[in-house]
């Protein structure tokens, strides 16, 4: 979900426009100013929030909304600096997995006091839950996405799977034929952010879990070994692109857009990118291949309010506005995310087959659990997988070591 486009120029231009907006709004005296830290999803993000701020100010004279745009890569760093210096904004978009640290540090405001039943009812329940910690709601799901298997229709039809592979065995069978035709079958991510997640697909669909009910690492299980062995055997048979540890998430997506790999697992926004960058590519969207069970990964990003905000009332009003139908539809369809409120889900923008395919996967979706040490677990698992992919460690040994490392941080 953290779409990373470091287009310096665009950002500078956006910063300039933001500066203009604030200077235009400045003359309104005695106004509440609500500062909002917003993450950069795409070049749509800033114009969207700018428009929302304008519309809100028009309806609520006396309240200024100041949007501060940050790249995903530097968001955690900015929040860290701002919070420790006490200069944080009033509202911020954060990765939901950080929420627990926010609550532990007592910087997030519980929102239940502001919400009535009908407000809570606006949300699709599965997406509101990750923002709740010990019965209190701290984050509202501003963005949500899930993952599915993208497949190249032409190549898969030639390989005998016109509707995409259903199981991992199908993926292997199809990849063998695709390999014989001179292309790569399954795009496997092997470096940087979400290398762990790419392996969790195999783990979950084989019935495994990342973190057990006891809050300890549970991925070094038979299912985990099976998943790692599966990926490694695909690498060894040349069914993935070669040199997988050289491919980040974006690199794998690019291979798919170029038609170099026939299958890749990604989020809804890839469909938007394909339409823009490779309009001739015929792609299909299928569930994550099954091992013994169906699963997918879902992520939400949350909007939080800071406890030290001096304008909580106005900040809440703006939140309330953002989570009404029209603003939600504009945001979600503009960014290529999934609807998080019931009303927006009925909008015609989300009646297309792509979005429907993703929404259909949600009943099996796994969310990153709200536990401390999730990032450490991700790092330990990514390192272990890289060692396995490179043939430097056996799946069982690498996973055992990763579990030990993860347990040092989990639940601390």
């Amino acid at each position: 979900m953290e779409v990373r486009k470091t287009k310096q120029l665009t950002k500078m231009a956006l910063a300039l426009t933001a500066a203009c907006v604030t200077s235009i709004m400045a003359p309104m005296a005695h106004a509440d100013t609500v500062r909002v830290t917003v993450a950069y999803y795409s070049d749509q993000t800033e114009p969207y929030f700018k428009k929302m701020a304008e519309a809100f100010t028009k309806a609520n004279p006396g309240t200024d909304i100041k949007i501060e745009m940050v790249n995903w890569d530097t968001l955690q760093q900015k929040l860290q600096t701002d919070i420790s210096g006490g200069s944080n904004a009033d509202l911020a978009i954060i990765g939901t997995r950080w929420l627990l640290d926010f609550v532990k540090d007592d910087v997030a405001e519980p929102l239940d006091g502001y919400m009535d039943k009908s407000f809570k009812n606006r949300f699709i329940g599965a997406f509101l839950a990750p923002g709740q910690i010990s019965g209190k709601t701290y984050g509202l799901p501003i963005a949500a996405s899930a993952r599915a298997l993208y497949y190249n229709k032409e190549q898969l039809a030639k390989a005998g799977f016109p509707n995409g592979p259903k199981t991992w065995a199908d993926v292997i069978a199809a990849s063998k034929k695709i390999k014989a035709a001179g292309s790569y079958g399954f795009g496997l991510q092997g470096k940087e952010i979400e290398t762990d997640v790419y392996w969790y697909y195999g783990l979950w669909t084989n019935g495994g879990e990342v973190v057990g009910k006891d809050g300890k690492a549970a991925f070094a299980s038979p299912a985990g070994i099976k998943a790692a062995t599966l990926y490694k055997s695909m690498i060894d048979q040349g069914l993935t692109q070669p040199g997988v540890t050289n491919y980040s998430r974006e690199d794998v997506q690019n291979l798919f857009k170029q038609g170099r790999v026939s299958m890749a697992i990604s989020a809804p926004f890839l469909a938007k990118q394909i339409k823009k960058e490779a309009p001739n590519l015929q792609y299909g969207i299928a569930p994550i291949p099954m091992g013994t069970t169906n699963a997918t990964y879902a992520v939400t990003d949350s909007m939080v309010m800071f406890k030290n905000s001096k304008v909580k009332k106005s900040a809440w009003k703006f939140l309330d506005y953002l989570f009404t139908k029209a603003p939600r539809v504009a945001f979600t369809s503009g960014e290529g995310f999934l609807p998080t409120t019931k009303e927006e889900a009925t909008a015609p923008q989300f009646a297309d087959p792509d979005t429907k395919a993703f929404v259909a996967l949600l009943p099996h979706a796994r969310f990153a659990p709200t536990v401390t040490g999730w990032e450490d677990t991700a790092k330990a698992v990514s390192d272990a997988m890289q060692a396995v992919y490179l043939g430097k460690a056996k799946p069982a040994d690498a996973l055992k070591k990763a579990a030990e490392d993860a347990n040092k941080a989990l639940g601390q």
């Binding site: 950080w98 092997g190 940087e192 050289n246 990032e375 390192d383 992919y389 490179l390």
Partner: protein
């Protein structure tokens, strides 16, 4: 001339005072902040929790990855600085000769300096791409390799590649220092040596190298400081991966602080780095007077 002897020693202090005060102010705040963080439990988002003494340092020391990274940082620094000096001396000697097109040659050597380190690293990341990188394409066209080499996928290739890029970006600065040094060497001593029948190699060993020594030392010290702390090349090309196998201290501390959310431990590492550089600078200062006596 009219100054009295007693007031003279004051003058340099007064002149240096404003910049000294400014430097002290700019350096001391983050320094004390880092020391403070390193002895506290700091949350992911920078909230100082409890005083925990040396726990952060002990945790870092007990981490096997840290020891690996420390060892690799030394390899990185020695290889890049050593390689840079080895490459720069002949380059400087050639550029010091008078030949047609010297101005252009000098400009070309200096060019990498004008590009930001991050940009250079990104360009090389592309160049070493498996599928469409120019390095693989060139090697394949020349028939040297049959299939693409996965340069950045394994540490065996990635780290040497990063060292090579490190050398490449350090060369312009080092050549500049050496050219300055060479221009201060008088030409007549070579003439005298030639009359005495010295070979070019003897002239290089007995004349050029000793006279260049202070400049080589300066280049080594400055480069060690830059290279030891150099973040962009490794971060852009591999982010310390795969499996932590290309981390050096500065990339590792960034990952600890801003990715894994352990600013306290990151602060501890940065203090370890600071003390290592202090020791090195101390050694250099002790070496200084001997040299100037010789030269």
């Amino acid at each position: 001339m009219t100054q009295s002897a007693s007031s003279r020693p004051m003058m340099p202090w007064l002149l240096i005072m404003p910049s000294f005060a400014l430097a002290l102010f700019i350096i001391s705040y983050p320094f004390f902040n880092i020391v403070f963080q390193s002895v506290h439990d700091v949350s992911r988002f920078g909230m100082i929790r409890d005083f925990n003494g040396l726990t952060n340092f002990l945790k870092v020391m007990a981490d096997p990855v840290f020891m690996d990274v420390l060892r690799r940082t030394l390899i990185w620094t020695v290889s890049v600085v050593g390689g840079t000096v080895l490459v720069s001396v002949p380059v400087a000697l050639i550029l010091h000769q008078d030949f047609y097109g010297r101005g252009i040659a000098r400009t070309v050597v200096m060019l990498p300096w004008s590009v930001s380190l991050t940009m250079t690293a990104i360009v090389w990341r592309w160049a070493f791409n498996d599928e469409y990188g120019m390095v693989n394409v060139t090697l394949q066209k020349l028939g040297i390799i049959s299939g693409p080499i996965h340069w950045l996928a394994t540490a065996e290739w990635a780290f040497p590649v990063e060292i090579m890029v490190g050398i490449l970006v350090s060369v312009p600065f080092t050549v500049t220092i050496f050219l300055g040094g060479l221009s201060s060497v008088p030409g007549d001593i070579y003439e005298a040596a030639r009359i005495d029948g010295a070979t070019p190699w003897q002239m290089f060993r007995k004349l050029t190298l000793p006279l260049l020594r202070p400049f080589i030392n300066m280049a080594i010290v400055l480069n060690v400081i830059y290279v030891f702390n150099s973040f962009p090349i490794i971060w852009v090309m591999t982010q310390g991966g795969p499996s932590n196998s290309t981390h050096i201290l500065v990339t590792y501390l960034y990952e600890l602080g801003f990715r894994l959310g352990r600013p306290g431990e990151a602060a501890a590492i940065s203090l370890v780095m600071l003390s290592m550089l202090m020791i090195f600078t101390g050694l250099y200062i002790r070496m200084q007077p001997k040299e100037s006596g010789e030269a």
